[in-house]
Every structure is written in structure tokens, then in C-alpha cells.
Subunit: 505 residues, 2 copies
């Protein structure tokens, strides 16, 4: 058997175990009876360990080496699937074998336990309840980062963390982008919130029974370019999307019966993630090339559908009749201008996932800076709530009343996902660039959306972004889509339009 | 590391992959979008292959040998978990390594193809369409059985088939039990159906919205001795129960809006399976001892809760007010006598899964006898419909109008599951014995159930049956529960009572 063939077979097995792990993770957060929590943590740990051991096997390394001579190793990315596979898997393997299996398993186990503790800690707004679990997560993550001492391209602790979510992007590159963003954002937020925008009645607030919300949202997702019978939508505490296969996408949302915007826009967000997973080239099948790894690119898809599409005037124009049909009391007296303003309020707020587009990236910035302090400046975790609250005061001018509305709001740190947050802002930056390019390529995109045509945009994104899987890096995707280099200007321009709208209100 | 410790660690990993496979199987039949079917089949095949390869590893065999000297190998079953583990796993390992992986794969592939052909063959009632696939299944199953030539305890072809579902029970033992059962049943069925019982109005037929059924059934299952937050109930096409862990039990049912009995009694049936899985000693944890393997014992638990409890007068007495509350139109005019008769109708019928308690075992007997003829007496498969119809005439006094209502009705043979059917009847026999013993031990069991106390019975079953997992064989369980040897008399006595009830109608 040629090396490449055996390599593909072995990677396929690992990929299938990954599918099982994805289902276990989805089930844990949507379906599992509480009693299943402890054994579930064990099962996830075992799967992580077995997959890891199968992958770091010396035989895989040998096969990668041999396969290099079977493919055109000099082919530029995107030209040969085989060459891309060998290149991408080669780096994965070099990275993976640095981390002992037991540490991987322990990370999986600890974060599963911490996530369960977090649910209760958040309910009670009791940070002390989470603290020991968080300390364990940070200690294990630190040990994880230490495994990469001297790894090519890594020069500081956070590089190893970021690389898990945004491969081949350094902390310094991220810092530059986020600093440019902050410089544009701070005056923009000040302007937007200066004269009390958001005081107006908000059509999305009122009484919205969850069952009717679900019906409305299922219909909205059905209009997106998903193949038939390839997705489902379930409620959960902290919305997410994942796929068991490209034809088996799991979307989740959270229903707030007093605020329709929560579920509606988060569902469109998760659907954007889902469309990405659904759009990966089937030829990449059971190889790691189909596991989308740049969370920045992934987030660009979710934010694009949530913010550029669903909060845009054309989509709202098309959906106002649907909103009125499901919730006449809330929307019968609202016109398109009012709806657009309601969908694009700018407010200094406490909760990231409920925050508006303009302030959102400040929430991210706070988390990114705190992560750097934890891992590179020794911030004690016991001081985290205070550090959190201080930054919300400084950047957003807002007092955090309790930890449930502060440091306990996100699942990421209990889940052990340090280095994840900045990819959200990177996603916004990339979405801004892709939206501009799509508009240039597709002509009157606004008209298409107002006419209910979401397929043209979907196809454009599939062709330019989704289908490549991990074959291209975010910068290569941007360049080939005609977006040039990474730039915050398209996002800032977009947000300036949003602010103009808010200030008019 | 002592051999036993390493053995436990390796078995634990295989066990956890089994949990993942269980979740994949549950999800496939309850939650999965249709688009996920093809990748799901691949994922399940990979998990089966990886688990099999991990298990038949020479290292496991060596560890089993070494562990034998670390445990008290002469300890009688049930005395030492370690000794039981080594004994049970030793036999599993000897069995597993006899079958070449290619044959296992071919069996899986052929039965998957045959199942698809069966769906169409059944729709068209065209046995000839299924015949070549059935021939392939039988040929492969024969080769599977040949792998066990000379295996300790096996003396004939069918022994190897039966052992897959009912470990350590021989064909001859099963034949003796089922023949005794037949001799008691044939005259009983003749008596029960002589004067057209079943003509009366059936309170369970009418209009029963699925949502209300679900509410009623959830409440009924909540009364069973499950720990809190350890189970869930979902709709599916063919009801089943499985557990991801003993504290994470998944029950399913199917709602027929014209017939409440379908969901109600099948849910109680699956809950019986679920209680068994929930009741395994937590000490057996992630070892194969906690994988209940005797389908006869398993079925004894489902049938006991479905038939002895839920179709019994005390349970019906306690639930008549609940039935009236949920479905006043159907039950307000029904008294307890009428309800009891409706829950226990006896009819000669063609379809096994719709048949009543009294006739049910004759359906099983027919299948068992035909399997023996196929594998041990060379019955040509082309003659199977004729042989089937002849037996339905002889045992049930009923003419089979077409193969869809005859030999094509069950998925087991297309699915390659030869040797499975007799465990259904074995389960009924065991349930009858356990019910008698529980009644002796618990005093007035009828009174307890009528008072809503299901915990006493549940605890008795957990102590005598569930907690042992695979440590004891069915005959050992029966003996230690004070039931003596395997005997059909308790079941026949129970069915005689049912017939008396039916004849009074």
C-alpha cells in the first residue's frame, strides 16, 4: 500500500472518532440527563486520548515522510489535495506529539468537569465555586503551552494557545489587528452612545413564547442554502454549532421569552457556522483538511450571516411580514426604519453574546487582554472578577453588578478554551472584507437579499471560503477572494454606518 | 503495573468507545438529520473495527493470562469482581479472536445490503426479491459459526449463533424450554380464542394526541425507581432502550394517535430494559461486566414491567384516574374490569410485534424452529415461506395471506441476526419465575403496586438481578433469587390467568 493510502486510512479512523467526540459534546449540551455528566467526562477524555495516541504514533510520522515523496511537495496550497494533506498533517503531527496523552486526557476531563460546575456557579453567581476548576484549567493549559518551548514560529506562551484556534497566526499579529480595531472603535462607541441612543422602544423586547420563536427561526434557517435534511436546531444554555458530518449539522440557540433578538440573531450566527461546515468540499472527506481550524475564518461566516445579512435592511425588509405574522402585537406597529434601528441598537452592555455589533469587539478585547495577563503576567485567578470589572468600567463605562453578569458569563474559560476569544474579532475583520468583495462580485447584493435570494451569496462564500477546508490559510482565502491583505477598514466602515443609524434614532 | 490494572485500563478504553457507539446509535434513530446516514454508517463501522482490534490485541490475551494468577481464579461467580472479570473477559477474548476481521466486515456489509432489499421486498410482499440476500446472509453466518469449530461448550452450528445473544446457553437447553412452552401454549391459545374474545370495544383505541400521550407516559415512567435526572424519553420508529452510562438511560417509544396501548406499553417495556441498565453495580464501572449480555435476562426485565406490572390489575387500578384525567373521552365510561380486559386482549394474529402476551411466544417458537431447520437440517431458503405458513396454520390456526404478513415481517433475518429470536421467549419464562419469587419475598405485591409503590419491586429486582451485570449467568441469577431451575410453569400459570380473563369477556 502506498504511504499516502495508508496515511489516509489511518487519518480516516481518527477522523471518525472525532465525529463520535463531536456528537458526545453536542449531546452533553443539548440532550444528556444530568446524571450522565461524570461518565461523559470520562468518555470524552478517553476518546481524546485514544485519538491522540493513534495520531502521534511513529507510524504516522513515517507515513507522512514517505508520502512527501509521493506528492508534489512544492505545489502551492489549494492546487493538490494530496500535497495539502501532507503539509497540513505534517505540522499537526509535529505539534501533537509534543503533548503527552495523559495531559490531553486530563485537559479534556478537567474542562468537562469545570463546565458542569460552571453551570451551577453561574446560576448562583458564585465565582468561588468555579475558581478551583478554573485554576486547574489554567495550570493544565500552562503545562500544555510549555510543551511547545522552541516550536518553530512560537516565541511566547500565548502563541501556543492562539495557534490551537488560529493556526499560524502569532500573538503579535493578533495584537496589532486588535489594537488598530480598538483605536477605531473607542471614539465610535463614544459617539454612538453619547446622546442616549437605545432609549427608544425596542420591538424585539416584549413577550415571545419560545415555541413560536422556534417556528419562526426554523423557517428563517430553512431559507438558507443548506441541503435538505442536513441540519437540526435545539435549545441549549450557551449556543454553538458543530457538524457530525457536512451533511449532519447541529445548530443550537437559546430562547429568551422577553427578547426575540437573542434567539433570532444567535440562530443566524450559528447557521453561518453551520453553512461553513456544510460547504467543505466533499472530496476532503474523512481527512483533517475538512476540519475547519481557523476560528477566525469560521467566525467570519457566522458574523457575516448574523450581522451583515440578518441585521441588514434588505433581510429585515423581507422578514418584517414574517415577524408580524408570528408576533403581531410586537411588530404590527413597527415600520422598516424602526425595525432596522431595533436590530442595530448600540448600547454599553454587560453580556458579550447580547451585545451589539459596535461594542462587541470591546468585549473581546477585554478577554484577550485578561488572557495575556493570566498567562504572561501572572494575574492571580482570584483577582479575575476585579480585573474584569475594572476593564468594563474603563472600556465600556459600565458597572458589573455581579459575576453572573461578569466574569462567569462565558463557557470558554471553564471549557479550557484560552486563546479562543480573539478569533471572534478576527472573524469580524475578515467578514467585513469578504462582504465588500462579495458585493463587488455579485452586483446588487442588497436587492438579491431583499428578494429572498440567499443562494447567490451562499454559493459565493462556498466557492471562495467554505470548500477549501484547511487547504488555505485565512490570508490566502482573503487574497484569492480579491480582498487583499488583512485590514480592519472594511469592518470599521461598516460599523460607522451602524453608528450613523443609531445616532439618527 | 500489575496485569489486572493494565487490563482494566485497556478494557475501560474499549468500554468508553462502546459508550460513544451507543450514543451514535441512539442519535441515529432519534435525532440525526437524514443527511447524516451515510457518514454515520462509516463512523459506526470504524468504531466497531477499532474496538475489535483493540480487544483482540495479543497484549490483552497476555494480560488476561497474567491476571489469572493475580485473582482467586477458583472463586465462585459473584464473589470477587476481579475473578469474575478475568473469567468473563477471558471467554470474550477467546471468542472474539476466532472471527477474521474481513468476515465481520462482510457480515456487516451483506446485512446492510439485505436490510435495504428487505424494505422493498416487504413493501411488494415479494420474497423472491429478498431470497438471494438471505442466502448470502445464511452462507456468511454459517462461515461465522464454523469459526467456532471445537470451541468449548459448542456441539452444533446453532450453539455459536445463540451464544452471541445468550452466552453459555446451549441450543438443546433452549429447545427443551421452548418445547415445553409450546406444549402448554397451543391448547391455551385454542381455548382463549375459541369464542371470539377480543370482539369487545377496546378503550385504548380512539383519538390520543401524541403530546398528551407523552405527558402521561413521562409521568408513568417518573414513578419507576429511576434516580433523578438519569433518563430521557424520545420518539422513534422502532422503540428501543439503551444506556450511555447507568446514570444516562435513553428510552424511546412510538406514538400511534389511534391506539394509546402502543406507546404506553412499549414505553413501560423499554423502561424495564432501562431500569436493568440503570441498576448495574457502579463498582463494575467501565468493565465488560457492566455490559449486560444475556438478552433473555434483559428481556425478562422489559416484559416484567410491561406485562406483569403495567397490564396487571393493580397498576391499571392506580392509573385509571390518570388515564381519565388525560383522556376523559376514552376512559370516563370505562371501569377497571373493562380496562383490564382491554389491556389483555387475546387474538390469533399474524404480526409478532402486535401480538398479545398469550400468543406471542408461538410467534417466537415458529422462528426458532425455522432457524434450526435452516442451519441444521438444510431447509432450502426458497421453501421458507411455505414452511412459515404451515407453522402458522398448525400453531396459531391462522392462514398467512401474503409474505409481507408472514416471513417478510421481521428485520432480524435480513439483518443477519440468527439466534436472536429465542431470547424473547426465554425472557418471558424468566420474568414469570422472578415475578413469583418477588411476590413470595415482598408479601402483598399487588397491594404495593395498587398503592403506587413500585420501589419495593424495583429494589428487589436491582438486588437480585440488575446489580450483578454479567457476573452471574441467568441460571445463577434465578437460583440465587430463589426461583430454582429454569421453568416454564410460572409463565404458563400467568398466561392461564390472562386467558381466564379473556374468556370471561
Amino acid at each position: 500500500m502506498p504511504a499516502l493510502e495508508e496515511l489516509r486510512k489511518r487519518l480516516g479512523e481518527i477522523h471518525d472518532l472525532g465525529r463520535a467526540a463531536s456528537l458526545l459534546a453536542w449531546d452533553e449540551r443539548t440532550m444528556m440527563p444530568k446524571g450522565g455528566a461524570a461518565p461523559r467526562a470520562e468518555t470524552l477524555a478517553t476518546l481524546a486520548r485514544v485519538r491522540h495516541e493513534m495520531f502521534i504514533d511513529d507510524r504516522i510520522g513515517k507515513l507522512i515522510d514517505e508520502a512527501r515523496s509521493e506528492v508534489d511537495a512544492d505545489a502551492p496550497p489549494g492546487e493538490s489535495i494530496d500535497a495539502d494533506l501532507v503539509r497540513v498533517v505534517g505540522r499537526d503531527w509535529e505539534k501533537a506529539r509534543r503533548v503527552p496523552s495523559e495531559l490531553r486526557a486530563e485537559l479534556a476531563r478537567a474542562s468537562s468537569i469545570a463546565e458542569n460546575a460552571w453551570v451551577e456557579a453561574k446560576e448562583r453567581s458564585d465565582f468561588a465555586m468555579l475558581l478551583p476548576h478554573l485554576e486547574r484549567n489554567v495550570e493544565l493549559t500552562r503545562r500544555f503551552a510549555e510543551c511547545y518551548d522552541g516550536f518553530p514560529g512560537f516565541s511566547r506562551t500565548y502563541d501556543a494557545l492562539l495557534d490551537e484556534y488560529e493556526p499560524e497566526m502569532t500573538t503579535e499579529q493578533m495584537r496589532v489587528v486588535l489594537t488598530e480595531l480598538r483605536e477605531g472603535l473607542v471614539p465610535l462607541v463614544a459617539e454612538a452612545t453619547r446622546n442616549g441612543a437605545g432609549a427608544e422602544d425596542d420591538a424585539f423586547r416584549g413577550e415571545f413564547p419560545a415555541d413560536t420563536q422556534r417556528e419562526l427561526i426554523r423557517a428563517a434557517i430553512s431559507e438558507l442554502p443548506f441541503p435538505d435534511d442536513s441540519w437540526r436546531l435545539d435549545p441549549t444554555e450557551h449556543p454553538f454549532a458543530l457538524s457530525i458530518a457536512s451533511s449532519d449539522v447541529r445548530l443550537t440557540t437559546k430562547y429568551d421569552e422577553a427578547n426575540l433578538a437573542v434567539a433570532l440573531f444567535s440562530a443566524m450566527h450559528e447557521a453561518g457556522h453551520g453553512l461553513y461546515e456544510a460547504g467543505v468540499d466533499p472530496e476532503l472527506g474523512s481527512t483533517p483538511l475538512s476540519n475547519v481550524r481557523s476560528l477566525g475564518l469560521h467566525e467570519s461566516q457566522s458574523r457575516l450571516w448574523e450581522n451583515w445579512v440578518a441585521r441588514g435592511r434588505p433581510w429585515l425588509e423581507q422578514h418584517l411580514p414574517v415577524l408580524r405574522e408570528h408576533f403581531p402585537a410586537a411588530f404590527d406597529q413597527v415600520d422598516l426604519d424602526g425595525l432596522e434601528r431595533a436590530a442595530n441598537r448600540v448600547e454599553r452592555s454587560l453580556i458579550r453574546i447580547e451585545s451589539d455589533e459596535v461594542t462587541y469587539n470591546l468585549h473581546i478585547l477585554i478577554r484577550f487582554e485578561l488572557e495575556l495577563e493570566i498567562f504572561e503576567e501572572g494575574l492571580p485567578l482570584a483577582d479575575l472578577p476585579e480585573a474584569w470589572n475594572a476593564r468594563y468600567r474603563d472600556y465600556l463605562g459600565i458597572e458589573v453588578p455581579d459575576d453572573a453578569h461578569g466574569v462567569l458569563q462565558d463557557v470558554h474559560w471553564p471549557g479550557g478554551a484560552f486563546g479562543y476569544f480573539p478569533t471572534y474579532s478576527l472573524g469580524n475583520v475578515i467578514a467585513g472584507q469578504l462582504w465588500e468583495a462579495a458585493g463587488r462580485d455579485l452586483g446588487d447584493l442588497d436587492r438579491q437579499i431583499a428578494d429572498g435570494d440567499l443562494v447567490s451569496l451562499g454559493e459565493w462564500l462556498r466557492e471562495r471560503v467554505h470548500r477549501h477546508g484547511r487547504r488555505l490559510s485565512p490570508t490566502q482565502v482573503l487574497e484569492r477572494a480579491g480582498c487583499g491583505e488583512l485590514s480592519v477598514e472594511p469592518l470599521l466602515n461598516h460599523l460607522r454606518d451602524r453608528v450613523t443609524l443609531a445616532v439618527q434614532a
